[in-house]
Symmetry: C2
Subunit: 133 residues, 2 copies
């Protein structure tokens, strides 16, 4: 299940792509109102997008947020994985996790691997520009 963190993050990015023409900074308040999401909660989400270098923020009057790249240069997959952690169907498939000692005999592992590839290809094949009206 994709949580609100990931879903709201994508909506913020789309909002910026649609309303942030010519590199203007868009106040979070405006985004929150347009999207019908609590501004306070969006602050938490946007903070992570800034840390990751997906957005840049500017303080003070006339400040706000804007995209760092062109919409076609963001994939939906990287946004989701940033906000939610690895896009893995099962814990055994998370990179860097302790490898499952039953992996070699596990009859379900190939199933999860196949689903994992499907999911990964789907979300990394979608770009922010594909979602903008």
């Amino acid at each position: 299940m994709i949580s609100t963190r990931g879903r709201y993050a994508i909506r913020v990015m789309i909002d910026l792509a649609e309303n942030g023409s010519e590199g203007a900074y868009i106040p979070l308040k405006d985004i929150a109102e347009r999207q019908g999401i609590s501004k306070k909660y969006l602050e938490i989400i946007v903070k992570d997008l800034v840390s990751a270098g997906f957005l840049v923020g500017a303080s003070g009057k006339g400040g706000g947020y804007k995209l760092c790249r062109k919409p076609e240069e963001y994939t939906v997959g990287e946004i989701i994985e940033l906000m939610e952690g690895p896009l893995a169907a099962v814990a055994c498939l998370i990179d860097g996790a302790a490898p499952c000692p039953r992996a070699s005999e596990c009859e379900t592992l190939p199933l999860w691997e196949e689903y994992d590839r499907l999911t990964h290809d789907f979300f990394y094949g979608k770009r922010l520009s594909d979602l903008v009206r």
Copy 2:
């Protein structure tokens, strides 16, 4: 993320398909040992499989569990949905849930719908017999 409930349920079903030849009842203790999973925890999972009519249990000496259908007559999707609830990527797509008031203007909904179809088709296209060695 598929939790242990769903994953263990599938492994129990595979174990029964492989070891329960000729309609014999297989004790949960044996399954737990073969699979390396706590028997106590499996009891909870197996209980749901019985309630749903996927398995049948027999008490007493010589008892245990067995499949009710042939392995090719179970889909992985129905097992997962039984154990984990709807296989939906986002809350707005759960059947019977309160419909999202923003659905008509939501720019991300088509994305989740497409992913949902992909996931559904994948898991309902896989059968228990596909996982048995």
